[in-house]
């Protein structure tokens, strides 16, 4: 999923109530419009096509875990005035922090390539031209928008345009899926066939939903917007409601793919097949709506990823970082996102399979999650940083169990998936 724009700015006391409502609304819109990205679309479609509604539980658990973690990122920044990368280095020292940050750097690079690939794929669906044609123009456009400092506008723009993804909800509704089967899918069950692939998709869903870069993005945004303890209520509401609605859209993708591809025994081997899941319900609108959703969501996610990586590096090494600042005042930060985008764009030119790259980067994300999330949780329970706003037992339990289990299953499953031919 995507982090979404941390909503609103420093609150003005007079218009506080109205502002809060607006912030919450914007947070929820961002949660909905910004939830899907290349990973959640691919994993949800694959889950539905191969196992109908049986994997909905993985999405539900991951979404609940995400609600908690998003709320925590905002709370950490609002109370301690530290972003995640800042606080982890300060508390656990450089020799520890270099491990999760290097792993994230590698994963972010893969996911950024996958997101840019998603945008190119969307353009390919509409024009029929190959991905390589679009790789460099798309990368340059993403870079230019960050470079010109229009992030907030682009963020809110892609979130609003991201409401296009509601087409999946419309399609799911039109299929009238049997409610009993959908609810049954929310209960974890053991598969009857392809069990290695089943668990591989399950952990890929976790990796696609809980993306570590968003913690950096969200906590950095909260610091730029000067959040304080008064922001905590807004933070909780918009993280909880926004992400829940967002998870609902990913569930709609599972339901649509499960209603269209599963009965016909169609396996997803290529991106080009995916828009067909909308065909029976949306007809000639299927391809443009799918391409629009994919393109907008992946583009927004690519911008966030490039910036989140630059935030992470700047906060680990103590460089200036601030998206609102002019690039020449923070040269290393600007060079960091420029280099990330450039390398990802070049990797796309090699013509690697974007769908495979997406699935494997999501699974790999699940593997590294504990290294990112466990120190994060320790901070969230530390009164030195959170004062009286430390975590409760439920948040701790949900996050630890989800993350550790997902990582263990990932370590077992990825070799099996690789041995079995992948995809």
């Amino acid at each position: 999923m995507r982090a979404g724009a941390p909503f609103g700015a420093a609150p003005a006391r007079r218009r506080r109530a109205a502002m809060n409502l607006l912030e919450i609304a914007l947070g929820i819109v961002t949660g909905i419009g910004g939830f899907l990205e290349v990973g959640s679309i691919a994993t949800s479609a694959d889950a539905g096509a191969t196992f109908r509604f049986q994997l909905l539980w993985a999405l539900a658990i991951a979404t609940i875990c995400l609600c908690f973690l998003t709320e925590m990122s905002g709370r950490l920044a609002a109370v301690s005035k530290h972003s995640l990368a800042d606080a982890v280095r300060e508390e656990f020292g450089f020799t520890f922090t270099i491990i999760p940050r290097s792993l994230e750097l590698i994963v972010n690079f893969m996911v950024l390539t996958a997101e840019l690939g998603g945008v190119c794929m969307a353009l390919k669906l509409v024009t029929g031209w190959p991905i390589r044609v679009f790789a460099i123009p798309v990368t340059l456009l993403a870079w230019l928008l960050i470079w010109l400092g229009t992030l907030k506008i682009v963020e809110n723009g892609t979130a609003l345009l991201g409401l296009l993804t509601l087409c999946f909800v419309v399609a799911a509704w039109k299929h009238h899926p049997p409610l009993h089967d959908v609810l049954h899918g929310l209960l974890p069950t053991v598969p009857h066939h392809d069990s290695a692939h089943y668990w591989f998709i399950a952990i890929s869903i976790v990796g696609a939903t809980i993306a570590p870069y968003m913690f950096h993005f969200y906590s950095s945004g909260a610091i730029e917007d000067k959040w304080d303890e008064k922001s905590l209520g807004t933070n909780r509401l918009s993280a909880g409601v926004g992400m829940t609605f967002g998870g609902g859209i990913a569930a709609a993708v599972v339901i649509v793919a499960g209603s269209v591809f599963f009965p016909r025994n169609i396996q997803i081997g290529q991106y080009e097949q995916v828009p067909l899941i909308l065909f029976p319900t949306l007809g000639r609108w299927a391809v443009p709506l799918f391409a629009g959703s994919l393109g907008v969501c992946c583009f927004g996610a690519a911008l966030e990823l490039a910036l989140a990586t630059a935030y992470m590096l700047a906060q680990t090494f103590g460089w200036n970082w601030d998206e609102n600042e002019k690039p020449h005042r923070e040269a290393r930060f600007a060079v960091a996102y420029t280099a990330m985008l450039l390398l990802s764009g070049l990797l796309l030119l090699t013509g690697l399979d974007p769908l495979k790259l997406t699935m494997y980067s999501m699974a790999l994300t699940a593997v590294i999650l504990p290294l990112v999330v466990v120190p994060f949780l320790l901070l969230m329970n530390d009164e030195k940083y959170l004062h009286e706003h430390t975590n409760g037992p439920i948040g701790n339990a949900v996050v630890v169990i989800t993350i550790v289990l997902a990582s263990l299953i990932a370590i077992v499953t990825i070799p099996l998936q690789l041995a079995g031919g992948g995809g």
């Binding site: 301690s80 280095r89 020292g93 470079w147 103590g318 040269a331 600007a334």
Partner: protein, 122 residues
């Protein structure tokens, strides 16, 4: 005497609110003659990749020094700030130095002058 753990790895901010690097290392001095108790005091804050490298291992430190020499951008790979220049330790470590032309920002300047200035719409 400040606790080492409280300052090490914190963000350093200069007198112009510029992010100046992190506390990559601390230089302690044990002054028996003044205190007579062998108590360690923080004498300097150190900023620089060899200081960071040393915390991982001697080999990484040597490697960082060699690269610093080879690239020749940073004038002084280990930059020391005397503890007397530290104004405040809170969320950040505030120091009484204008970092603009100091070695910790050599790379920042180099990237601005050699990369950013060559990009369009700079």
């Amino acid at each position: 005497v400040r606790l080492v753990g409280e300052v090490l790895d914190q963000q350093i901010v200069d007198s112009k609110e510029r992010k100046f690097g992190k506390v990559d290392g601390l230089v302690l001095e044990v002054n028996d003659e003044v205190n007579g108790d062998g108590e360690a005091r923080v004498a300097f804050i150190e900023i620089g990749s060899p200081t960071l490298g040393r915390r991982i291992g001697k080999r990484v430190e040597r490697w960082a020094l060699a690269w610093n020499r080879r690239l020749g951008v940073r004038r002084e790979p280990r930059y020391r700030i005397p503890w007397s220049k530290v104004l405040d330790v809170g969320v950040d470590v505030k120091v009484e130095i204008d970092g603009k032309d100091e070695p910790p920002l050599d790379w920042e300047r180099w990237m601005r002058d050699h990369i950013l200035s060559k990009l369009p719409f700079a």
